[in-house]
């Protein structure tokens, strides 16, 4: 009696009955991943704090190294936070009707791209002023931490673009959008902490 059912390749089997899920698979998996990422940045930040606290005479930044552009970065930070808020709007709008999410999703992606772009121009300016990865531990920590965040931001923007494409093709589900959004919220929310710890 079961021979017929068992010969189905597993990809074509009907999904077996399971307990009701409290939270979609993708969102849960991404949340677990985000906790690991939080610990990664906690590691970077505490290493930075320990090295900074041991600098003789509170010279931070060290002599001859440029100061980080606090004001310009504040504008970037505002753009990134705004992008996070717009993404919340997109998620709410998606529940009311998939098409409504299109515009806010696009705005959130563009704001994120603006953030990465202006951080990049900031880097080129700093390199020309003599701050490099090897010029001091100050520079080393700046490029390592902010670079790690930039890689996460680029990956997350890739996710947002993918979600936009899926929406365009009418395949986006709230679980897919939620998975991408959780990662973007992480990128948005970890940044103010890095800004306070590294820039100020």
């Amino acid at each position: 009696m079961t021979t017929q059912a068992a010969t189905h390749p597993v990809e074509h089997r009907p999904a077996p009955q399971k307990r009701p899920k409290m939270i979609a698979d993708g969102v849960l998996g991404m949340l677990i991943f985000v906790f690991t990422e939080i610990m990664l940045f906690a590691g970077f930040i505490s290493a930075h704090a320990i090295v900074r606290s041991q600098v003789a005479g509170e010279m931070w930044p060290p002599y001859g190294q440029p100061r980080l552009p606090v004001q310009e970065t504040a504008v970037n930070t505002a753009a990134l936070l705004l992008s996070g808020i717009v993404l919340i709007v997109a998620q709410v709008a998606f529940k009311k009707g998939a098409v409504r999410a299109k515009v806010p999703l696009l705005i959130a992606t563009l704001l994120g791209a603006f953030f990465v772009f202006s951080q990049g121009t900031e880097w080129t300016a700093l390199i020309s002023e003599g701050l490099t990865l090897t010029s001091s531990t100050y520079g080393g920590f700046f490029y390592t931490i902010v670079g790690a965040h930039a890689l996460h931001a680029i990956a997350a923007i890739g996710g947002l673009v993918w979600a936009f494409y899926e929406l365009h093709e009418n395949r986006l589900t709230s679980a897919k959008l939620g998975t991408v959004a959780v990662f973007w919220y992480f990128v948005v929310l970890v940044w103010p902490v890095l800004y306070v710890k590294v820039y100020l």
């Binding site: 079961t2 021979t3 059912a5 068992a6 010969t7 189905h8 390749p9 597993v10 990809e11 089997r13 009907p14 077996p16 009955q17 399971k18 307990r19 899920k21 409290m22 939270i23 698979d25 849960l28 998996g29 677990i32 991943f33 906790f35 690991t36 990422e37 939080i38 610990m39 990664l40 940045f41 906690a42 590691g43 970077f44 505490s46 290493a47 320990i50 090295v51 041991q54 600098v55 060290p62 990865l133 090897t134 001091s136 531990t137 100050y138 080393g140 920590f141 390592t144 790690a148």
Partner: protein
């Protein structure tokens, strides 16, 4: 359905499947089936264990008979000795203990035990193994590059690991670090899968307290791993930059701090001990409940204790650094937390002893392994108390006492625990029973020599023998005849133990080829994996036979029933 019918169904199933997807060998390499991925992890882990064991053989020969031509290797140079010791540790922890205990058994058992057809993310699971395999290849390749393999110990303390002029292994140390980082990425992906699967894919009716303890333990271990690995990855990125780009994160001359690495490493390194310990304890409790025919004493107690162990394990790491120049007040705090963590571990031991009490015990091969795990791990735990106390540790630090202590914890976990699990689930994995007589010969031939290896090393450590010395003839006070006798006893016991492993491989092949057919439930156990065919088909159960769960996993010797077991999926 009889077993022959089951085998026929399965054969037909495979024949049918050949028309889809990759063919031939590729079918195994690109499989997304959790059982196949579990097997891939298992066999890669076993292959790495053979290499790690060979390394131990080479450097133990050098220690017992300095300067000899080691058969199969030749003369051991100091650089090679360092590379062998370093990579023995790295391989045994990251490429044997973790892949076999967590990845192999986690992959094989979790979906079967919770009544799911596969992992939640099967393709991420496959990617996880592929990255793991790549990391193993890079690690092995690092032994053959110019300058040889990395020789700065598995803890890789800078500045030795960061500066090429000191370690003389410019390429080897970077490749070692990249291999370890890739291995972490593989387990990250695997861990996400385990946790999500356990939470979201359970069979109807399976509540949190109906999950078998070993599945809980593997998932809690995965959570510990995920929460502790971040800082080490951060530290590894900084170390890699120091090695390759010339930054100075760990260089005090340039404003860096070498002790920083020790904090980042041990913040991961100590929870890592519990990451591999918990699955081994889970395996032990499954086996003991089955072969004592008794309900586990205090399921919830055990679960909460495990969580408490996990939380405490994040606050003990600096006991590895008592002589690294940390503040003595901080050393006091870490002594207290370290001694505190022995309380939940002792509780786990008492739960297991209480489960045995009054049971009707059957001394099968898996049961012998499970009991040996408890006995040997206890010695490791008790000797740990000396090292956790900061006063005593100042004397014991970096002696063979430390080495013997952690081998008394890791050997029971990674070797005894793995053999317990392997012999217990072998019928499910391959559909055949293992030969019990050969299994018992292998058991005694492994456990007795194990004690003869490491008890002499405890004595040597108390005698002040330092860990990282290539040839003790250069140190007159450590080169006495009585010390050499102890070193030679340890080495000869190692040779005996390695020889007995041939019995294991012979038993595996013989049982696999011509063993007795196992049937679905050879041990009369309750958990869900025993309700399907052995080996389980793709998808684990036929679609219309997916199990429902009605009770907890340990209902042995229930007074209302005639049989002494009560499978989880039987309504009454």
């Amino acid at each position: 359905m009889s077993d022959t019918a089951g085998a026929a169904t399965q054969g037909e199933h495979h024949a049918h499947e050949d028309h889809h997807g990759p063919q031939g060998l590729l079918k195994y390499i690109w499989s997304t089936d959790h059982k196949m991925i579990g097997m891939q992890y298992m066999f890669t882990g076993m292959f790495m264990a053979v290499i790690g064991g060979f390394m131990a053989y080479v450097f133990r020969m050098q220690l017992a008979f300095p300067g000899m031509n080691v058969p199969g290797f030749g003369q051991v140079s100091p650089g090679e000795y360092n590379a062998l010791v370093t990579n023995h540790g790295t391989i045994m922890i990251f490429w044997v203990a973790m892949p076999v205990l967590i990845a192999a058994f986690g992959n094989f058992l979790i979906p079967l035990m919770i009544g799911a057809d596969d992992m939640v993310f099967p393709r991420i699971n496959r990617l996880s193994f592929q990255i793991f395999f790549l990391s193993a290849v890079i690690l092995l390749a690092s032994l053959f590059v110019q300058g040889g393999g990395f020789g700065g110990a598995w803890t890789a303390y800078p500045p030795l690991s960061a500066v090429a002029e000191y370690n003389q292994t410019n390429l080897g140390s970077s490749m070692w670090l990249i291999a370890v980082a890739l291995e972490f990425v593989a387990f990250l992906l695997g861990g996400i899968n385990f946790i999500t699967t356990l939470m979201n894919s359970r069979a109807p009716g399976m509540k949190a307290y109906d999950i078998p303890l070993v599945a809980w333990m593997i998932v809690i271990a995965s959570i510990l791993f995920m929460l502790s690995v971040g800082p080490l990855i951060a530290g590894a990125v900084m170390l890699l930059f120091d090695q390759t780009l010339g930054t100075g994160f760990y260089d005090p001359a340039r404003g860096g701090d070498p002790i920083l690495w020790q904090h980042l490493f041990w913040f991961f390194g100590h929870p890592e001990v519990y990451v591999v310990l918990l699955p081994a304890i889970g395996v032990t409790i499954e086996i003991i409940a089955t072969f004592a025919r008794k309900k586990v004493f205090g399921y919830k107690l055990m679960l909460y204790t495990t969580v408490a162990t996990g939380v405490l394990s994040f606050f003990v790491w600096a006991h590895h650094q008592f002589i690294a120049g940390i503040d003595p007040r901080m050393a006091n705090i870490f002594t207290i937390t370290t001694l505190l963590i022995s309380v939940p571990i002792a509780e786990l031991c008492f739960v297991i002893i209480a489960t045995l009490y009054g049971g009707s015990i059957r001394l099968t091969t898996p049961m012998l392994w499970a009991l040996a795990f408890m006995a040997e791990f206890l010695i490791g735990g008790v000797t740990g108390i000396f090292l956790g106390a900061s006063g005593a540790d100042i004397f014991f630090h970096d002696t063979y006492f430390v080495l013997a202590h952690f081998h008394y914890t890791f050997f029971p976990i990674a070797i005894i625990g793995t053999f317990a699990a392997f012999t217990y689930w072998f019928p499910k994995m391959f559909g055949k029973m293992m030969n019990d007589t050969l299994g018992k010969i292998h058991f005694w031939g492994t456990v007795i020599p194990f004690n003869f290896i490491f008890i002499p090393l405890f004595i040597l450590g108390l005698g002040g023998q330092h860990r990282r010395i290539y040839n003790y003839q250069h140190f007159p006070e450590l080169a006495g005849a009585d010390m050499y006798v102890l070193r030679q006893i340890a080495t000869i016991a190692l040779l005996v133990m390695l020889a007995f492993q041939l019995v294991f491989f012979f038993n595996c092949i013989k049982s696999w080829m011509s063993g007795e057919k196992a049937g679905r439930n050879p041990w009369k156990s309750n958990t869900l994996e025993w309700t399907t065919e052995s080996p389980p088909p793709h998808g684990n159960w036929p679609v219309d036979e997916m199990p429902n769960v009605y009770r907890g996993p340990y209902e042995y010797a229930h007074p209302d029933r005639e049989e002494d077991y009560w499978p989880q999926n039987e309504p009454n």
